[in-house]
Symmetry: C2
Subunit: 554 residues, 2 copies
Amino acid sequence: MLTDLEIARAAEEKAQSIIELAEKLGLPTQELEPYGYNKAKVKPAALKESSNKGKLVLVTAVSPTPAGEGKTTTSVGLADAINARGTSAALSLREPSMGPVFGIKGGAAGGGYAQVIPMEDINLAFTGDFPAIAAANNLLAALIDNHLHQGNELRIDARQIWWRRVMDMNDRALRQITVGQGGPLNGFLREDGFDIVSASEIMAIVCLASDFSDLKERLGNIVIGLNLDKQPVTARELGAVGAMAVILKDVMKPNLVQTLEGNPAFVHGGPFANIAHGCSSLVATRAALSVADVAITEAGFGADLGAEKFFDILCRQGDLKPEVTVLVATIRSIKYQAGVPVKELNNPAPEKLAEGIVNINRHLENLKDVFGTRVVVALNRFPSDTDEEVATVQQLLDCPVVPATHFAEGSQGALELADAVLGLLAEPAPEVSFAYDLADDYQQKAKQVAQRVYHADSVSFAPSALRRLKQIEEAGYTGLPICVAKTQYSFSTDPKALGAPEGHELQIRQVRLSAGAGFVVLVAGDMMTMPGLSAKPAALGMDIDDEGVISGLS
Amino acid sequence: MLTDLEIARAAEEKAQSIIELAEKLGLPTQELEPYGYNKAKVKPAALKESSNKGKLVLVTAVSPTPAGEGKTTTSVGLADAINARGTSAALSLREPSMGPVFGIKGGAAGGGYAQVIPMEDINLAFTGDFPAIAAANNLLAALIDNHLHQGNELRIDARQIWWRRVMDMNDRALRQITVGQGGPLNGFLREDGFDIVSASEIMAIVCLASDFSDLKERLGNIVIGLNLDKQPVTARELGAVGAMAVILKDVMKPNLVQTLEGNPAFVHGGPFANIAHGCSSLVATRAALSVADVAITEAGFGADLGAEKFFDILCRQGDLKPEVTVLVATIRSIKYQAGVPVKELNNPAPEKLAEGIVNINRHLENLKDVFGTRVVVALNRFPSDTDEEVATVQQLLDCPVVPATHFAEGSQGALELADAVLGLLAEPAPEVSFAYDLADDYQQKAKQVAQRVYHADSVSFAPSALRRLKQIEEAGYTGLPICVAKTQYSFSTDPKALGAPEGHELQIRQVRLSAGAGFVVLVAGDMMTMPGLSAKPAALGMDIDDEGVISGLS
């Protein structure tokens, strides 16, 4: 089989221009801002008039193997297959972060015959959203240090500055740094650090804001740290909002590209799925809903993290009503949940499936019981999967299980999946429900998520986390949803506790207020907000020739 | 008078699309990559066939006041006026750095009625060149620290890493930092720092490379520091070139925009004028030469720095043959050189002009005698200049002195200047000459520039600078041009030594090898490669409304 890049490049050569696609979608081309011939930003005015005509489908996954289960490829394959069946479907997907492209991960625009193009551009700087978010983030950081340097009128406590700098790079050396060295001309010495851009609160804000006005309001709400009276200091008080918004002037316009099969994809926003909610932007999802009968979006990590936040944070705030959830599973993931080592996952082991299936059942149960959604299991087939294994999984599960081969076959490999989804969409959807009530206090919210979604027995808070929660509540930040940062490999906080663990404790070590994004982050376990490069980073295998042909980007 | 932004916005509303402009220029539109409707990158193929049909004009300036003398506005006004006279002219200008836009400087796309548009975009992320250069620079930095972390096969001496990180922000806190804190998982602890993106060697490389292949060669030549045997380690040895080139895949395509009057401007590349050569890219200047009869470009700071490097580095390497030099002066600058304090520069003082004129004469003499170029002095008029002052300057100087009011009047204010330039261009141009021979050793080169251009008596090197020079020569890096980093306010290294100082000593404190860019930097005096924000940064006065209308960007 060809590489992802070869497949993408061949499709790019014969693809329709983005203007042609926009015209098909009925978008007024004067409201389009083309970036080259194959990508465009869409101004809000183009989308305002057509309200949400489409029905929303969420794609989420079981607890993943380290390689991931193929949420993006399944989303793309499903969209192409629904279009192939004659119903219009559009995607709302996350923008890949460039940093990991040079690490181990490679690209993140789908794969095989289920990709969005132009693949190289999407994986690199694309339309400049990440650089703009980085610049806005770092302008705020520079204004904070400048404020300290120029007299510190707001009495910011230099020991309690929460706002970090960001860079779209896997760079472990920047995780923990000291700035302001070299004497008084260089400002005050203090400890700081860089996160990757996806982890910037501004990324979460861009993804949750409903329009530019809301973006500015949220930028102003950002709490950068505490003053010497232990009171929160906001970006608004620093006077930073206008300039940050100037930098972000184009960032709220969703990016329109297309699948290999020429169907529309809004690829916009890429927040972390641990310290943020991990979904593409609200404006992109609304854009998809406005141009097609079916809009498909995905949520990061497994359903315990991604789907939970999709419902409890994004749907609640953005008034989205998903009608069907596609739970992506693989035979490999079921074996992995049964304890099969990673390097043996491609070996047939039908006898292990009954043991690993408990993970899928737990996710199914959550999606149905907690969030009230209808579920189709998409079994993303790998060449190593045997027919016996697939049949076993279908027997073991008490819901529609549809094998899909879109990676190798494009839309033709996902027609059955499309039919299953379209079948459910033809019937009235149940009301969506949530894991907790926004009026609950934060400890109650954590308890609800821990017990109902993670199936833990209890929640504990480190003393410093409790103190921070109290401080946040006393400062008036109540009623926000929570955003739990936890390992994606287990329902518990122990990445090795596979299957469907019970009786565990959710230990919250740290609490962070994201007042601009509008949630409180509860950190359980280690949290990596700046990845590193491996011993053999992908960067070392990349090249581009004089004709601009890239190699080594997968 | 309207603000720069108001003038720009009014013009933008009725401007031709960039496709229309390209068609007028005879550029095949399929070789254009539009970014929105008003800016485009031009692929090299579009420019390859038409060789340099135009004649080149350099715009440089006298020793500046802190506010600058208006090189960019004069370049724009001259281009518009030449076009108004019926001869085609195109600009090659530097891209503004975003960092200073939020500091004190405001925008840098010309001003008044002599601007390039879209002004806001050009001053912000534009077509993504600066973010791409930052990412390539920082990927190399991450690969260096990762190499140390993963076993240090190349035996890089962590105490001798010269490659710094960059950010397009005025952020003094990042000038000197410690990275790798927090234990072994975060790499090795070492001192580091951030420069502004314009100061990245990659920026200089982009501006000097003749094509993509040359870019890659130069990226490979970058020396990141020394190994434990005191031998240079290159980016090529680190395996970083391919991935850096992938990030920079679009950066060699010059950006096409237009003046307020609809004439073409290639705005591309923005290297520092101290540790680099301070000119827009070679490919942009070649592009301007290929589409018009007259190409106009500018060189940073005063002529002692900008023009010297333009001739000795860029023209020599790029085989450019400028035919006329426009030396921009202001009545204000002449008074300033006579010792008038900055806040009194707008008061009439004709009696001071004879004293300050020595600075212009020194620049004139250098341009003619050292570089063999013909010169027109453009007297960029301010409203406060009296007719008596202008007449006095014309009497005092022994060359054409043409007052110009393009800031207030656009092309109509620079017609006389255009006529003077066109008059000279109609006659055969003398051969360009250089300040030194490339075969000289670095100390001889420094002596030539010091004596012939700065009119110093002597050159001295700090012992560490001499050691570094010896090291560089022993490693085989000989025959490169030098790039002196010196104050722009004086011919000497003392910014307070105004006029035409003599008898001074050029003291070289530090030597840096820029093997990728292809020059050796000799640092005389303090050098600021990361600006800071002021007590009242421009950022605090900026805003953008829900319709995208920006205010406070000047």
